[in-house]
């Protein structure tokens, strides 16, 4: 029978990864009325996947979150952020002016609320995608010279 040296690591990681991911979303949805949010949440979310890759191997992690998906997620997040700005411009406001995100009277400020949530979501996607892309780029890099060749 094959012995598993890392059984404690595996079990603990399996237990922790959902909590890390949940915590990422907790941080994310606090972002609209406290500073930060999207960036920290994106990092925490990516850390969950990276922990998975460290414990179960990069190949398994790539099956879970493919590299192209991570990259597309980053691009999509960036565009989501930008498009909120353009949307506000199309509605007659200045770039990124959340008061113009939804049609409402001069006293309505729901737009501020919605605008910040959407851009924080964009930041979450962009940061999580970029972190994973950077991690995959380092982890998936085949060494050009083997350690024995030195």
């Amino acid at each position: 029978m094959k012995t598993d040296h890392h059984v404690i690591l595996r079990v603990t990681a399996k237990f922790l990864i959902p909590i890390i991911t949940l915590y990422a979303f907790y941080v994310q949805f606090h972002g609209d009325y406290s500073p930060g949010g999207g960036f920290q949440a994106g990092v925490i979310f990516a850390v969950g996947i990276i922990l998975y890759a460290l414990i179960f191997g990069v190949v398994e992690a790539l099956r879970l979150v493919p590299a192209t998906f991570a990259r597309t997620l980053a691009l999509f997040g960036f565009l989501l952020y930008g498009s909120v700005g353009v949307w506000a411009m199309l509605n007659g406001g200045l770039f990124l002016d959340y008061d113009f995100v939804i049609p409402e009277g001069p006293d309505g400020h729901w737009g501020q609320h919605i605008g910040i949530i959407v851009i924080e979501l964009g930041v979450l996607f962009a940061v999580a995608g970029s972190m994973l892309t950077i991690f995959y780029a380092f982890a998936g890099r085949a060494p050009e010279i083997d350690d024995e060749d030195w």
Binding site: R71, T72, A74, L75, F76, F78, L79, G82, S83, G85, V86, M89, G92, G93, L94, F95, L96, D97, Y98, D99, F100
Partner: protein
């Protein structure tokens, strides 16, 4: 001479012009990265940069007609919110960067096929668009911290662009790494300086800072902040002796990157230096005069002579032109350290001319390298026989670099001499004259090799550069001649810029 672009644009777009010049390339960049076919990515990049340059022209006309334009991002009024501000100082820089961007993008088509592996091309163009958007952002922003953000956007993508040369020449990796370390140092120094200024004035908006600095100008905080900012931006602008990153980065990066960077990146950093020195700080401040007289002017003089001297002995043609770039930055800094409107106008004039001629020179060199495969000077022997159009444009731009009459380089050198003489800086005139003689030596060496040496068997294989390369090359070369005959358009812009700088940013 300009078409009235402003009236062609829809009314509702006009008030968004300051943000539109940055927005197009920036939002197209992620779309480019996702393009499976790199030619579509290239078309998107070209489209984004052309729209950006149209908006830049419109913005320039708007500024000429109505003076300073302020744009409050997110509707938060400055000085609290981030402000994009266009005036006569930065509108010409925006036009310069975007026009060079359009020409460089056309030039990119034939050269990146050779220089960059197929699977990397879309990503490369995406990084290029980011770099472009960052440079435009540095030029348009009216917020000192936002300037740092855009500086980093452009710099980080620049490191990528330089490193991509590593697939052909491994030395590009060390060059890019070197550039990364030096560039990050520069950016860090800048942001430390901004931190000090924020501590002393409590604001990050440039115009607001400018109004508050005189009250606290004698504090050590402001002095330290000033020193950090000057050192940081001087590093980015490749001021002697902080230029060590530049020759390698220009030599080993793909030829397209060299063209684009030499004509824009150091120019924008130089603009940022001008912006901080003249419209945040002011030349009347005592410590700034000390820095002008005892730091910037001597360094400029050493750069103009030492780096021209180094250029004479280079065996690699790209490296030679890179050293010449550092020397030319010395010219611009000399004009700046005169701390007069004439001096600033002359150095901006020289900056624009230098962008035209260095862009053209690197393009022409790239055109020859495409079929020759080497950028060693000795390998260029007699290539003019096989590639007359490329070589002629090279010759015109090289003469402009020396400052031969009837070229743009001549007029800006004369303007620099006049500005120096107005303050009796005879030594500066002597220094620039010696540097010009040295320029005759290295340019003469290059032209002699290209036009008069007997070509060997390898040189007879050289072909004329493709049309996509010749068009932007000749636009720049003819620009050098046109502005050598009638520079009234550029000088009206640079005089306007100097006026803005000397009224403390408020027209």
């Amino acid at each position: 001479m300009l078409i009235d672009v402003l009236s062609l644009l829809p009314e509702s777009w006009v008030r968004h012009l300051p943000v539109l010049v940055v927005l197009g390339p920036m939002l197209l960049s992620p779309i480019c990265a996702a393009m499976p076919k790199w030619r579509i990515a290239w078309a998107l990049a070209l489209f984004g940069i052309i729209t950006s340059s149209v908006f830049a022209f419109a913005l320039l006309q708007d500024v000429m007609a109505h003076g300073r334009i302020s744009y409050a991002l997110g509707g938060w009024a400055p000085p609290l919110g981030i402000e994009f501000a266009a005036d006569m100082l930065n509108a010409p820089v925006l036009v310069l960067v975007s026009v060079i961007g359009v020409l460089a993008t056309i030039f990119a088509m034939p050269t990146i096929v050779q220089d960059i592996n197929e699977e990397k091309r879309s990503l490369f163009l995406s990084a290029y668009l980011l770099c472009f958007a960052g440079l435009m952002g540095v030029a348009i922003t009216g917020d000192a911290f936002n300037l740092f953000v855009f500086l980093e956007i452009s710099s980080i993508s620049t490191y990528v662009l330089v490193a991509i040369g590593g697939s052909r020449d491994r030395r590009a990796f060390t060059a890019a790494y070197n550039y990364l370390i030096m560039g990050s140092l520069g950016a860090t120094f800048y942001v430390i300086g901004i931190g000090f200024l924020y501590a002393a004035t409590g604001t990050l908006n440039m115009a607001d800072m400018a109004s508050r600095i005189p009250e606290v100008a004698d504090s050590k905080t402001i002095h330290a902040g000033f020193a950090f900012i000057v050192a940081g931006l001087a590093l980015k602008a490749a001021m002697f002796p902080l230029h060590q990153w530049l020759p390698n980065a220009y030599t080993y990066s793909p030829s397209f990157v060299t063209v684009f960077l030499s004509a824009t990146a150091t120019k924008v950093a130089f603009y940022a230096l001008v912006r901080l020195l003249f419209s945040v700080f002011s030349p009347e401040l005592e410590f700034q005069q000390v820095v002008f007289t005892w730091v910037l002017a001597p360094m400029a003089a050493v750069a103009a002579i030492a780096c021209s001297f180094q250029a004479v002995f280079q065996t690699n043609i790209k490296r030679m032109l890179a050293y010449s770039s550092v020397a030319q930055v010395g010219y611009m800094l000399m004009g700046l350290s005169l701390a007069s409107a004439a001096g600033l106008s002359a150095s901006m004039f020289h900056m624009i001319n230098h962008a035209l001629m260095k862009g053209a020179l690197f393009m022409a060199v790239a055109g020859v390298v495409m079929s020759l495969g080497s950028s060693q000077l000795k390998d260029f022997a007699g290539v003019a026989r096989k590639a007359p159009w490329t070589a002629t444009a090279l010759g015109i731009s090289a003469l402009s670099l020396v400052g031969v009459p009837l070229t743009a380089g001549f007029l800006s050198k004369v303007a620099l001499f006049q500005a120096a003489l107005m303050q009796d800086w005879w030594w500066a005139v002597v220094v620039l004259a010696i540097s010009s003689v040295l320029a005759v030596l290295y340019v003469g060496r290059m032209l002699e090799t290209v036009f008069f040496k007997t070509p060997g068997p390898a040189q007879l294989q050289v072909k004329e550069a493709p049309l996509m390369l010749l068009i932007p090359l000749w636009v720049l070369a003819l620009g050098s001649i046109y502005f050598g005959l009638d520079a009234s358009f550029i000088t009206s812009l640079t005089d306007g810029a100097a006026n803005v700088a000397f009224s403390g940013g408020q027209p």
